[in-house]
Symmetry: C2
Amino acid sequence: MGKKKATIYDIADRSGASASTVASVLNGSWQDRRIAERTAVRIRQIASDLHYSRNLQASGLRKARSGLAGMIIPKHDNRFFSAMSESFETEARSRGMCPLIVSTLRDPKEERRIVATLISHNVDQMFITGATEPDPLSDMCAKAGIPHINVDLPGTLAPSVISDNYWGASELTRYIVERMQDGAGRARDAVHFIGGIGTDHNTRARVQGFMDICRAMLGSADPGRVDTCGYAPEAAEASVRALYGRLGGLPAGLFINSTIAFEGVFRFLRSLPHDALSHVVIGCYDWDPFLSHLQFPVAMVRQNGEELVARAFYMIEETAPAPTVTLVRPELILP
Amino acid sequence: MGKKKATIYDIADRSGASASTVASVLNGSWQDRRIAERTAVRIRQIASDLHYSRNLQASGLRKARSGLAGMIIPKHDNRFFSAMSESFETEARSRGMCPLIVSTLRDPKEERRIVATLISHNVDQMFITGATEPDPLSDMCAKAGIPHINVDLPGTLAPSVISDNYWGASELTRYIVERMQDGAGRARDAVHFIGGIGTDHNTRARVQGFMDICRAMLGSADPGRVDTCGYAPEAAEASVRALYGRLGGLPAGLFINSTIAFEGVFRFLRSLPHDALSHVVIGCYDWDPFLSHLQFPVAMVRQNGEELVARAFYMIEETAPAPTVTLVRPELILP
DNA sequence: GTGAAAGCGCTAACAC
DNA sequence: GTGTTAGCGCTTTCAC
């Protein structure tokens, strides 16, 4: 059964029509060709009898396209990126394309290997999301003549659509500092930044926003209050613990840079007596539903993955887009 | 730059070799053809000068394959499925295939549409994961001659690899009941099951395990203690609240069927005085790292997505596999 | 060790 | 309204 897939020739034979007639009926171009309704119906009937399925490889080869919309992401198992995947699928499908999403595990070498594979599969466009080194990838796409765009992390060779990390961090910091001031005058009256990677573009923008607001609202911004200890929970846990030791207690405010880092911080906080937490204002850059339900309130910054993807599609469809950076505001979610 | 991609003919022209020689050098079959090392080197040099990239569409068309490993999943934005995606990618890549993962949003119609698309793209194999109606999809794959397998939810027309839900639920129930017995003799000394969909295969298996252990350990299993109220947090929250009202307090044990349902239950529990929770034993079928860090202990069942995928690959590579069901044990994670 | 030629399934230009 | 024909870029006999 169905050993060999039926082709338009099989249908042409059975129907007495020619291959091109069959093809145009089956690929939707029959209106233009003014094929008779009767012919079309007959052909479709036979096609379904034979379980015909169009061979998009052959079609694509001929048309020099594939109908595949390619996207690379760092990880599938991540709320932010998996939400982007879903938006990407929706947008791709609404354009009649099949989404092809592949993860790179943040490895620059793997990024290149995978982009090469997608190019070989003739993807019609490439979304480069969260790439550690976007420019070499842009280069590869350019050489293959494939429209492409950077998402979430910017590059210099193609348009980029990224979160407004500076704005998000500023707002979150402002929220924290305002709340802190209710109990001003105490010692340890500063806000501390924990998590992220110092060389990462997004972390840098967030630190910048954090520092600027500290300077504006508190009169000073001490770099010693920023610990970009990485994203690992263990590192973040160690970081708060050390901080707690140094200060002899919790600081007035905590800016945690990602939910993953938050996991570690939370582990430490949970070990403290309950009322130790009552005076610290906590904010987390990134969103997770469970954080809304803890014993203490947490403000969060939720990135707008959907909008990032929508804008990226919009931009990639421009002719000759300039390598500009488009910022998309995240949302501040208050407890 | 790179407007038109280079083909083997461009390289043939420049190198003086024939297209077939170039092709075999560039696709790895040159060892068999005993192409001279010198020729190979020269060709590869020119290929890289021209930024040649193999056209897998043309290659696939000719070889009647695509190099694509297809998988459908219900959702990307889900810990379990996104973890499976990562395992799937690893396995696919190690076989030299490109993973093509598409989500269906649990809509049977969309499932069929997407499977049809993947078939049109000539995927070499199809992994049908968490499909609400797997059999029609099997049918489509069979007619197209595509090896396929069901994962996570079983079908009757193809081999299936699924979690041992009965075992997982039994173990979780046993854990809960054993702990409950420490404080036995109280009223409200029963364990209640909340969440999931009664008609869903997996939920049914879990309810079965739950009931069997209740019967074995507590002497009776009251169907009134099972509320498959769906997966929505709101529904689950309403369910515990009602239960609390009926019993005049919390039951001795709670079996929450999924982390999503848990979110709702948690919302209610949090509203209770802290010591109200000290006597209830809580288990959650499914795993989320944040649940390990709550104010009260939670036992969890963690499904082994990696093993599911590994087994599925193993089975799909069998010749003429029977439509058997392979069970993979989840892991009980104690607080 | 290498080349010539046929053909994978489809589309598009042109013919009638 | 529909048929004929020439490829898309590659692989694969078969020939030498």
